[in-house]
């Protein structure tokens, strides 16, 4: 099958398989896809926009639903002390997964590995924060703005007031040190 959505769902299953724990949550899936598109320019075709919980596109959950319906991934709900989460696991062999990922996975496997390597150990809250930092930075970059870390952190804190200023600056500094910011890199 060659249509884009089929290849996207192959990539989703690959991300689950490559996650350090062998599974990923829904927040992780959403933010990995965002990072792939924003930081690695992988042409996934999603249209992310910002919510208080970070960049989001409902099409990612649609793809997840299709991947689950086709048996490529399995999703379980897990109860935590406060609230709940999801565990998404690849449910097919590596060979089948690659078949479904098609050219998209073949071409961008390294990008997927890179995203898992960089962000695979972050929890959901930190993924929400770092993806919001990247989104805010890219938005400024598109408007030809140049931001200081303090200004970037102020904008992010306005969206996510439940994080402390120090937390936001710490994550922003970390992203800048890895050269992942564009509007904030020169100041």
């Amino acid at each position: 099958m060659s249509s884009v959505w089929n290849e996207r769902i192959g990539l989703i299953a690959y991300l689950a398989e490559r996650s350090p724990t062998g599974w990923m949550g829904r927040t992780a899936l959403m933010k990995y896809c965002y990072f792939l598109q924003a930081l690695r320019r992988v042409p996934l075709g999603y249209s992310f926009s910002l919510y208080s919980y970070g960049p989001f596109d409902a099409a990612v959950l649609s793809d997840l639903g299709i991947a689950e319906a086709l048996g490529l991934v399995r999703e379980d709900v897990v109860a935590y002390q406060v609230g709940y989460g999801y565990q998404i696991r690849a449910a097919v062999s590596d060979k089948e997964l690659r078949q479904f990922g098609g050219e998209l996975l073949l071409k961008h496997q390294r990008d997927a590995d890179w995203v898992i390597g960089e962000f695979g150990n972050l929890n959901a809250a930190d993924l929400e924060l770092e993806s919001t930092i990247v989104y805010t930075d890219r938005e400024a970059y598109r408007s030809n703005e140049s931001l200081s870390i303090a200004e970037l952190a102020r904008r992010v804190s306005d969206v996510k007031p439940h994080f402390t200023k120090e937390q936001v600056i710490g994550h922003a500094e970390s992203l800048r040190s890895k050269h992942l910011l564009q509007a904030t890199r020169n100041r």
Partner: protein, 370 residues
């Protein structure tokens, strides 16, 4: 027939009811996690109302049919109608918002409404309310399900709107995550009915074979009519051009015989015919069968429309439900019906009417062999 204006008024009304219910049910969460005070809540209520009213103002002719013909940005992502809505609010509607006699009562500008609509960091903590306009239980879908049902003469989109509204809440974020919208346990059957209403409306109305064929022809017509086959960008220079493209202009051009083969098929109602479709929840084998049919039919296939291509998103919703003991679980944990509802990944295959019989016979032959 109903208009997008009528729908927009409905979205504004429903969003207001939802906002007021959440404000009443979740005061503590709004204050502690989003730093709201009374003035902030009063300001954002008006902002959300305006955003709800204007959320669709950027739609092109025939709405979602036109979305595939929106241009792409430098980073290859496609503009969405929300980007046009935001651009229109910033320019054409700026004065209407900022110079309104009541405007000084609320501390916001047209830019704030635009930032909210497009999902920009500039919308600050107001982004929390975006789920009321574009989320899993938003005022948009609550209105369109009921309104489309009424006007289409079906009952599939009905659910208990009042029950859903009265049980909506802001739910604290888990482990440092952002707070989200959810529903009290007493309203979970209302939310369940809302999800099922979407499912039924999609399968019975929005993804109906003839409606989908019309979308194919509308897309083809617009591609033929637009210079370069693509809409102008939502930039200052091109926005006026974009705004000249409305339903009436397209209908006029169609009536003048423009729009190529697709335009002609629309005006003479000689639509593509569906010759094959996979099950609503297709398996890998079903898709393999589809591939064989597609390969064998070759040029007889005039269009192939997957449900995933639709503007409607088929993923399993993640709606948090709060019990009386303040325990939070997803709706699917409460509803065995929804726990078993799978994403629709149906694909519909079309042929030209003059080829339909030949194509169907060939499909039957292929299926007999499989």
């Amino acid at each position: 027939m109903h208009t997008r204006f009528e729908h927009s008024l409905g979205v504004m009304h429903t969003a207001t009811l939802l906002y007021d219910a959440i404000r009443q049910n979740s005061r503590e969460v709004l204050e502690s996690e989003l730093a709201y005070n009374e003035d902030g809540l009063k300001r954002d209520r008006q902002l959300v109302r305006l955003a709800a009213l204007l959320h669709d103002v950027g739609h092109g002719p025939f709405s979602h049919a036109a979305e595939e013909l929106l241009p792409t940005r430098d980073d290859d992502t496609r503009y969405k109608h929300e980007d046009y809505s935001a651009a229109i609010v910033r320019t054409k509607l700026r004065s209407a918002i900022e110079d309104h006699p009541l405007s000084p009562n609320y501390d916001f500008k047209a830019e704030d409404v635009a930032s909210f609509l497009e999902g920009s960091a500039k919308a600050k903590q107001t982004l929390f309310w975006r789920d009321l306009i574009d989320g899993q239980m938003d005022a948009d879908r609550m209105d369109y399900l009921l309104r489309d049902s009424y006007h289409a003469g079906v009952q599939y989109g009905r659910f208990d709107l009042q029950r859903v509204i009265h049980t909506m809440q802001a739910i604290p974020g888990r482990d440092g995550g952002a707070p989200r919208l959810g529903i009290g346990e007493g309203g979970f059957h209302g939310a369940e009915a809302l999800v099922l209403a979407r499912y039924f409306m999609f399968t019975q109305v929005y993804f109906h074979k003839t409606r989908v064929a019309c979308d194919v022809h509308l897309r083809g017509t617009l591609k033929e009519l637009l210079p370069g086959g693509i809409f102008p960008k939502p930039s200052d220079a091109d926005l006026d051009q974009y705004l000249t493209w409305d339903d009436w202009r397209v209908l006029g051009l169609l009536s003048d015989g423009k729009g190529g083969e697709h335009g002609q098929r629309l005006t003479s109602r000689d639509l593509f015919r569906r010759i094959y479709h996979t099950p609503e929840v297709s398996t890998l084998q079903d898709l393999d069968c589809l591939r064989k049919i597609r390969d064998e039919l070759g040029d007889l296939v005039a269009a192939e429309e997957p449900a995933s291509k639709s503007w409607y998103k088929t993923g399993t919703p993640d709606i948090p439900v709060v019990s009386e003991r303040k325990e939070i679980a997803p709706l699917s944990k409460h509803s065995s019906v929804l726990a078993n509802l799978k994403a629709n990944n149906q694909v519909q295959v079309y042929a030209k009417p003059e080829n339909a019989e030949r194509a169907r016979n060939k499909v039957n032959e292929i299926l007999r062999k499989i």
